[in-house]
Amino acid sequence: MKPTDAPSESFSRGFGRKDAAGAEQIQSRAESAARESGAQAAYNLLLRSEVVAGWRKPSLALYDHTLHLIGGGEKYGCTMAAALQDDFDVTLIAHRPVTLDRLMDWYDLDLSRCRVKIMPIDFFEKIGQGQINPDLVSDRVANPFLAVSRESGNYDFFVNNSMLEMVYPLANVSLFVCHFPERQRGAYFYAQHYGQLICNSRYTASWIEKKWRISPNHHIYPPVDMEPPPSAMTPKENIILSVARFEVGGSKQQAEMISAFQRLRVRDARGLPGWKLVLCGGSALPNPYLDRIRNMLRAQPGLPVELQVNISQGELKKLYARAAVFWHFCGLNQSNPAQVEHFGMSTVEAMQNRCLPVVFDGGGQREIVDSGISGYRFSSIGELLSLTLKVIGDPGRREQLGLAAQLRGGDFTRAIFSNRVTGLFKRLAAAYAAGGPLAGPSPEAEQ
């Protein structure tokens, strides 16, 4: 996307004036905008005139269709809102009930200057779908997200943190945050109409270009804030840790981890005395995949594998502090790029705790772990076993790589994320308040 002129560049001239002539000028410009491009264009012009005159700070809506669920993408959006709430009048738009208190508790953030707006969507209730699943929307039905498009036109800035390409932006300044392009261009595809496109990793950027044929303008890694205070650093224990959601489809591959751990014990001449595997992650109920994991463990009572499901943040922090090695399999033996880790927040969390990562060589993991320097990347189970045995057998090397991992993990902190976000939005807000041309989608991207 390239910066282009706003629809009526000349209207900026009357914005700064606070006299009667200025008001008249704005009125006539609003009328002409309405004649040329409709009532929304006139409304946008009036919204902007208030900010240019300095009467209020810009309003910003951050939309996430799964805001009511805890997750990495939602944390990204909420951290963004927390960073922007002093410079903008921030509203979080959700479809299902969720409170600010809950969001603040989930992500350990201060969102006290934000507000939440709930907009129920009838479409998904009518077809009896518990979840808001955009895959159910086709060109055969009216776009259920049109209501969100309408709502977007009530704000100066609109941030779509949903990677939901079915929302057409009507605000003066629009930003699309893409955590991964899950769908191909198809029914109600409007991602190309956003002025700015932000992606969370280079891996995601490459797939946005491939699938949607548009190029992201900004690349901001997600915020990871698992850094322990120096006093909380404890000696490492013989724990191999995995932190990943127990996905119903098994995409995080905890079952494969158990098998690999068994093989690791066989491969080590002494049977890995004192080492255990801890599988930690969130899960919704009921979860057949988690049941399968439980059954696997029940069948081998002697296998030192611990299951920690839905534990608190405090307990998770303690686990990271104790664990020596971190495993992450997501993406192994997958042909679908969406099933490969788009970034890998849990890997960074482990690294911030000096927990040595041994992770699948694919997706966003390649951008985090420098193999042989700040951890290891593997392409097959055989390679994983060799690498894990190598670090288990050499505590000195493990310690050295762990320190390098911790240093690298420091590149993805909340402070760094917030600085990048506020920097970008301050630039956009300054251009907006100056009344000059705004960055918009390029004409070819609009096709």
């Binding site: 491009s37 009532a39 409304y43 005139s49 009467w55 060109d139 498009s149 191909q184 033996n333 679908n336």
Partner: protein
């Protein structure tokens, strides 16, 4: 002047807000023609995306099995309109048994076709799952063989040899 200007802008905003809320289409709101749909390039899809696409298309076929016409009979004539509508309705009712004989056969054919496609889809999915399992087992066997070969050559567990 600030207060007067603010009040004027607020009044205008209310006016245009009401107007934009009355707009019924996205085109009206955006003030320009918008392209809503892009054809899906099936060749670009990954295996699991194709799987989803096949399921979606199959459900569309299923929705369209019954191809009997259910026309919305209307007329634009102001005075004669109700008479024209009545006449069309009667005609449609009279012809229905004849058209139905044709469409019933077509519907049966559609049903069979959808069922056949569904069976093929299920079969394909099962075959794929089996093939994937075998591929993984093959990979595992290959790795274990390599491990054994390595152990035999060095006489030590691999990490100790390193």
């Amino acid at each position: 002047m600030d207060e007067q200007g603010k009040a004027e802008i607020a009044r205008l905003k209310e006016y245009y807000r009401a107007r934009k809320e009355a707009a019924s289409t996205l085109e009206e709101l955006a003030g320009k023609p918008i392209r809503h749909h892009f054809p899906v390039d099936l060749w670009q899809l990954s295996d699991s995306e194709i799987d989803g696409e096949m399921g979606k298309r199959l459900s569309f076929l299923n929705d369209d099995i019954d191809c009997r016409p259910t026309p919305d009979i209307t007329s634009h004539r102001r005075i004669l309109g109700p008479v024209v509508v009545l006449f069309k309705k009667i005609l449609f009712k009279i012809l229905r048994p004849y058209s139905n004989t044709l469409f019933t056969r077509q519907n049966r054919f559609n049903e069979e076709l959808v069922a056949f496609h569904l069976a093929t889809f299920i079969r394909l999915r099962r075959l794929e799952e089996r093939w994937l399992r075998q591929e993984q087992q093959g990979q595992e066997i290959k790795e274990r063989l390599e491990e054994l070969r390595g152990n035999q050559e060095s006489g030590l567990p691999k990490h100790e040899a390193d």
